[in-house]
């Protein structure tokens, strides 16, 4: 299941969003620190929006050019027959 994305190193390329086959990561405008007080600035950055629907396929981590996505190899909620 996806754990984290190091946003301070993120270039905002959006590949993690594009390759996710479970619609977990969405690029969304997020507030960033600005040079002048009183101004608002946003950047398009990845948001882990539906973490519980992650299928642990590692695509976001594999294709991230900055190597800043961390997927944990645990799989939760797998159905069991007994």
């Amino acid at each position: 299941m996806i754990e984290s994305i190091e946003l301070e190193k993120c270039t905002g390329c959006g590949i993690c969003d594009v390759v996710c086959p479970a619609d977990v990561i969405h690029m969304e405008p997020q507030p960033v620190a600005v040079e002048i007080a009183g101004l608002r600035q946003t950047r398009l950055l990845p948001v882990i929006k539906f973490r519980e629907h992650c299928i642990t396929c590692f695509s976001c981590e594999i294709f991230c050019p900055e190597r800043i996505v961390d997927v944990h190899p645990s799989v939760k909620n797998r159905p069991r027959p007994w």
Partner: protein, 574 residues
């Protein structure tokens, strides 16, 4: 939200392909390459084409018959391995075409390993003696991506993130395209097509890992009048809730064995001839029996595997699995070599659309490819993709033949408006996401070992009633946003599929392949060498039998223990 007001995009094409796994990618390629110049082919997938679906996350092993191989011998063993439930004409054609397809793949830049003498590196596969599998470097991710690039070069229109929600009939007696929504923005799309190929894979009930495949296209085809078949058969296999291990077959070839909580090797008791090398459904059945006896947890004891070969099993040529093992680190080594309990998991249904060997369904204008097509009830490692490559190519050719004889379709505005309203009906901004709650209840019913693996009439009926009640409860569920709307529609399809699976399992009163009826525990060729088909009968689903034609080989052929597979083969270098 103004959802009753029609607002969307119209796309006009000749051949529409829905679903971009091996079957859909090949169907699109085939339609484009077999069609006259200017043929418009459109491929859609609910996520990114080339990076999604079962194929992209597989190792892309595929059974290929090279010149000099015994095609009829391979056909025989596939038919025998399917306990007769195979379309012999289709399987044979897939084998005949397989070498030409590998040549196509090589022209796209895929590399298949060769030995020093220049011959393809191939290996045997579980349960088959003559068949050989090979795979492209980079596995499924490279296979699917190179196909995407080839389709782009060929001029196929690729539409990512389009989730199909309904098939259209227009003012005619045939399918005239489909409607869907962008799976992110929710934008409504209408695709007018002269032929539609459904290739949306099987239904897994979200059994976990990358097998998050929901197979909605088959249920749309059912609602459009097509019959579905093989619902009683499932891909049941051993697995652990903790990690995913594709190498069980090879581990067994190298000496691994199944043991119970008492440390006893149990497969010989259930399968005296085959033992641990029995095929996957039989291992799953034995595991379920051991559970019933109170002998769980069950383990795959890999200690007999020589030390120098063990490293092979905690790495993978499949990229995501390689990440998986690397990140598990030492935990992977201890877990894999005997510490993790295994379960018999029902991973996906074999239900597909009934077609002829030409991949045409009963509904004009509607064809099928991939695992959405009911060509086989059981697949060996390498014949999941092998069959999808084969039936994709056939479906594309058939679609081209069809459109040469058919006039262009016309849209029915009332139908489009009705499908638009139906697609968006569950969308209510103030609601909460609840389809996962129903899904968990559905999983509890369908994954229970004494429903999904060891079947009996009373338990199947109780499960059927429970699923019917869940479907009733589901009618009140709404979705607050597009993400949930897609999941809700997938769950809706699973609820329908579950009733077909349980209904067909009740209907087939014998045991065959992965379908084990405790109350009818023998294979009965006199009465059941048939496909079980389900179609809308006017008053709900109606089940019927279709005899399986046997033009090339008899199905009474006993399964043989493959001699070559029995001999341990070094995994190194393969």
């Amino acid at each position: 939200m103004g959802m009753d007001k029609l607002d969307g995009v119209l796309i006009d094409t000749d051949v529409l392909v829905v679903g971009a796994g091996a079957g859909g990618l090949m169907a699109a390629l085939s339609a484009k390459r077999n069609g006259p110049p200017g043929t418009r082919v459109t491929l859609v997938d609910s996520w990114l084409i080339g990076r999604t679906g079962h194929t992209a996350f597989s190792n892309a092993w595929t059974i290929v018959a090279l010149p000099g191989d015994d095609i009829d011998g391979i056909l025989h063993e596939i038919v025998a391995g399917n306990d007769g439930i195979a379309d012999q004409v289709l399987v044979r054609q897939a084998l005949v075409d397989s070498h030409a397809r590998v040549k196509d793949f090589e022209k796209m830049g895929m590399h298949f390993g060769r030995d020093e003498a220049g011959a393809y590196k191939r290996r045997p596969t579980r349960g088959l003696d003559l068949a050989r599998v090979m795979y492209p470097e980079g596995g499924g991710l490279e296979f699917a991506w190179k196909l995407r690039l080839a389709l782009e070069r060929d001029g196929v229109q690729l539409i990512d993130r389009l989730f199909i929600t309904g098939l259209m009939r227009g003012n005619s007696d045939r399918i005239t395209g489909a409607v869907g929504i962008n799976s992110r923005t929710g934008e409504f799309n209408v695709i007018k097509a002269r032929a539609t190929i459904v290739a949306t894979n099987a239904i897994t009930f979200r059994s976990g890992f990358v097998r998050d495949i929901t197979g909605t296209g088959t249920l749309l085809a059912y609602r459009a009048g097509a019959a579905l078949r093989n619902a009683e058969f499932s891909y049941v296999r051993p697995g652990t809730p903790k990690f995913y291990f594709e190498g069980i077959t090879f581990a067994i070839q190298e000496g691994a064995r199944w043991v119970n909580a008492k440390g006893e090797s149990f497969m010989d008791e259930y399968e005296p001839e085959w033992g641990d090398q029995a095929d996957v459904p039989r291992i799953a059945k034995a595991m379920a029996m051991e559970n019933r006896k109170g002998n769980t947890p069950l383990y795959l004891d890999m200690s007999p595997i020589p030390e120098h070969l063990r490293e092979y099993f905690i790495q993978s040529k499949v990229k995501w699995m390689d990440y998986f093992f690397r990140k598990l680190g030492d935990e992977a080594k201890t877990d894999m070599f005997g510490k993790t309990p295994y379960y018999a998991l029902n991973q996906m249904t074999k239900m597909g659309i009934r077609t002829g060997a030409d991949c045409r369904s009963d509904v004009p204008g509607l064809l099928s490819a991939g695992l959405a097509q009911a060509g086989c009830a059981n697949h060996f490692a390498g014949f999941h993709i092998g069959l999808c490559v084969g039936n994709g190519w056939i479906a594309g050719k058939s679609a081209i033949e069809d459109i040469e004889h058919l006039p262009g379709p016309s849209l029915d505005a009332a139908e489009v408006r009705a499908l638009h309203a139906e697609t968006h009906a569950p969308l209510k901004a103030a609601s909460s996401a609840e389809s996962d709650r129903i899904l968990r209840d559905l999983q509890a019913v369908m994954f229970a070992y004494d429903t999904g693996i060891l079947k009996r009439e009373d338990r199947l009926q109780a499960a059927f009633d429970r699923v019917t009640a869940l479907a009733e409860e589901f009618k009140n569920i709404a979705a607050p946003h597009t993400h949930e709307l897609v999941r809700l529609k997938e769950t809706e399809a699973m609820l329908l599929a579950a009733r077909f699976i349980l209904g067909a399992s009740l209907y087939r009163t014998e045991s065959r392949l992965s379908h084990f009826r405790e109350d009818h525990d023998v294979r009965d060729d006199a009465n059941w060498l048939v496909w079980v088909d389900v179609a809308e009968g006017g008053n709900g689903p109606s089940f019927s039998k279709t005899p399986v034609p046997t033009p090339y080989c008899p199905v009474t052929l006993p399964r043989r223990k493959p001699s070559r597979l029995a001999a341990a083969q070094s995994v190194a270098g393969v």
